[in-house]
């Protein structure tokens, strides 16, 4: 039905976009692979040169790498997990008719348009040990006896940054799931009502299966974004104290900032491969859909 004999037109039209993407993504990506096999520390320019797999071997022996990787796993698991749960709740609530729904939908998306730096800094101020509002609220509710410097303690810092990333991601999930909910045919629920299904049965047997695709795509996108996110943690804690809030991407960023480019490239190649493994089912699915 669509134009099959279009000659050179389609290629010509995608060429500009393709060139930019090639120049800014694929060439640097290849470059990163090359750099990861070199000693490339800008503070030691005389030592720059190929060293085989040395960087990778060093990474494997780096206990900080393993702890950051483990933390990335927890970061994604709890971060995306709770974003999903609260985002789903918000979507279900915003899907019901009530006065002021349009406004509620708009304002609940604001965290999504807020820069990561600002999110990091805003929450740093909320968590502040001396003047922070969270401590004040908890003290007033008698939940704690004295102020907790949330971001300065090894035991509280990681949960604190996870809460922040959850806060950031709720709107995106809510947005996608809300749109998905609107695509669920109302007759399904009517039929279930006739059969006497209760709210939970309807949720499990109609809502969730109908949203399967949306849930799948959104969760995967979110996993990749959250795993790659640097700005929130970097601006809250820089990965500290004592590396207790350092995820792998923050570790890589810190190493790159310290100008050890070879070592950080090796770690970022590993992160990319891990994320691609997560994304393969998604890409396969995408491929199949494009075929039709």
């Amino acid at each position: 039905m669509r134009n099959k004999k279009a000659g050179f037109w389609p290629y010509l039209l995608i060429m500009p976009a393709l060139l930019v993407v090639m120049a800014v993504v694929f060439i640097p990506a290849l470059n990163a692979v090359l750099m990861s096999f070199q000693s490339y520390d800008l503070r030691r320019p005389s030592e720059i040169g190929f060293i085989g797999a040395d960087n990778y071997i060093k990474v494997m022996r780096d206990s900080l790498f393993w702890s950051s990787l483990w933390r990335t796993l927890l970061w994604v698991l709890f971060g995306v997990g709770f974003q999903f749960v609260f985002g789903f709740c918000l979507a279900l609530l915003l899907n019901r008719p009530f006065r002021g729904r349009g406004l509620a939908r708009s304002v609940s998306l604001i965290p999504w348009v807020t820069p990561g730096v600002l999110i990091g800094l805003m929450w740093r101020w909320i968590y502040d040990g001396s003047y922070g509002v969270l401590n004040d609220i908890l003290l007033k509710l008698n939940l704690i006896d004295e102020s907790i410097p949330f971001l300065a303690r090894v035991s509280t810092v990681f949960p604190a940054v996870v809460v922040t990333i959850i806060w950031q991601g709720i709107p995106f999930f809510a947005l996608m799931l809300l749109a998905g909910l609107q695509g669920v045919p109302g007759e399904l629920y009517e039929a279930a009502d006739i059969d006497g299904a209760n709210v939970f049965q309807k949720f499990i047997q109609i809502t969730v299966p109908s949203l399967q695709n949306t849930i799948y795509v959104t969760t995967l996108l979110r996993i990749i974004w959250v795993a790659n996110s640097v700005d929130v943690i970097f601006n809250m804690t820089g990965g500290g104290p004592a590396y207790a809030s350092q995820t792998l991407s923050v570790y890589i960023f810190n190493k790159a900032n310290a100008l050890n480019l070879g070592y950080s490239s090796a770690m970022s190649i590993i992160l990319t491969i891990l994320l691609l493994l997560v994304a393969i089912p998604y890409l396969k699915n995408l491929f199949r859909n494009q075929e039709n």
Binding site: R2, A17, V20, I27, P28, A29, M176, I224, S249, S268
Partner: protein, 278 residues
């Protein structure tokens, strides 16, 4: 009796959870605003106040006069506008191609564009830094515009492809029967219909480049730095001046919020179309 019971349940399972979630989502913004209008004495006093006893806009004044916040705002605006126009041009051409032609390699190219987003920013950051330095464009707005264009292309192609696929082919076929060639048909017929969608996509691109930090912090210097970097730089040697920082934050999010509210409906439609269909 039943009506009363129903409205009680409605409050319990709709209003209360909704209000709790909205408070959680919005309180940080309220707190940021309140902080920005408190005088220093109250900010670092022994009692935390939930509405300033005394309001002041000194932080906003200082930000513009002592810290020259207009400069990074101008830089951000320049980068965001350039990125938006560049991405919109290349993405609309590419998505027109994807939605209107079936050609060899189409699928592979689409996947190529979409996988683009999966590379960790930290992976590209390092080699790009080296490349930009060699090209001599490090610390110029061009470095950021190029990087942001690349990150915004995939989503923009996705969005525009969704909108375009919903436009009937007969639109330009009719024009082409009348003797217009393909570029003419695109410019005269498709482009005008597409304008609202281009605006929505443009808002997404603008937002992304306005907010980006990781690349901006490495690719800019004193002269060319953008708002997110300037915000972070307010944290000086002597610790954080929270009144300045929160005032800067409020100034940063106002433009994107305003734009977002205007473009919201269509942007949300476009964003979700892909996920719901695909």
């Amino acid at each position: 009796m039943k009506g009363r019971k129903n409205s009680f349940y409605r409050v319990l399972n709709l209003h209360i959870p909704l209000i709790i979630l909205l408070i959680f989502l919005l309180f940080p913004f309220y707190w940021t605003f309140v902080t920005s209008i408190k005088p220093e004495r109250e900010l670092y006093g022994s009692v935390v106040t939930y509405w300033p006893r005394q309001t002041t806009f000194k932080a906003y004044k200082d930000l513009f006069f002592d810290y020259n916040f207009l400069k990074p705002m101008g830089n951000s605006l320049l980068v965001a506008l350039l990125t938006t126009s560049l991405t919109l041009s290349v993405a609309s051409l590419a998505s027109y191609s994807f939605s209107r032609f079936r050609f060899r390699g189409r699928r592979a190219f689409m996947i190529l564009f979409l996988t683009n987003n999966m590379f960790p920013t930290v992976l590209l950051l390092i080699p790009l830094y080296a490349i930009m330095r060699n090209l001599g464009i490090l610390y110029t707005p061009t470095a950021l515009v190029l990087s942001y264009t690349t990150f915004t292309i995939p989503f923009s192609v996705w969005l525009l492809n969704g909108y375009l696929s919903d436009l009937p082919l007969s639109l330009e076929e009719a024009a082409m029967v009348d003797g217009a060639n393909r570029p003419q048909a695109f410019i005269r017929i498709i482009l005008p219909v597409l304008i609202p969608c281009l605006i929505a996509t443009g808002v997404y691109i603008f937002m992304t480049s306005w907010n980006e930090y990781t690349f901006a912090v490495m690719f800019t210097n004193e002269e060319s730095r953008t708002i997110p970097v300037a915000l972070k730089n307010l944290i000086g040697q002597l610790g954080v001046q929270w009144d300045l920082l929160t005032a800067g934050g409020i100034i940063t999010i106002i433009p994107v919020c305003v734009m977002f509210f205007f473009a919201q409906r269509r942007l949300v439609e476009g964003l979700t179309a892909g996920a719901v269909k695909g």
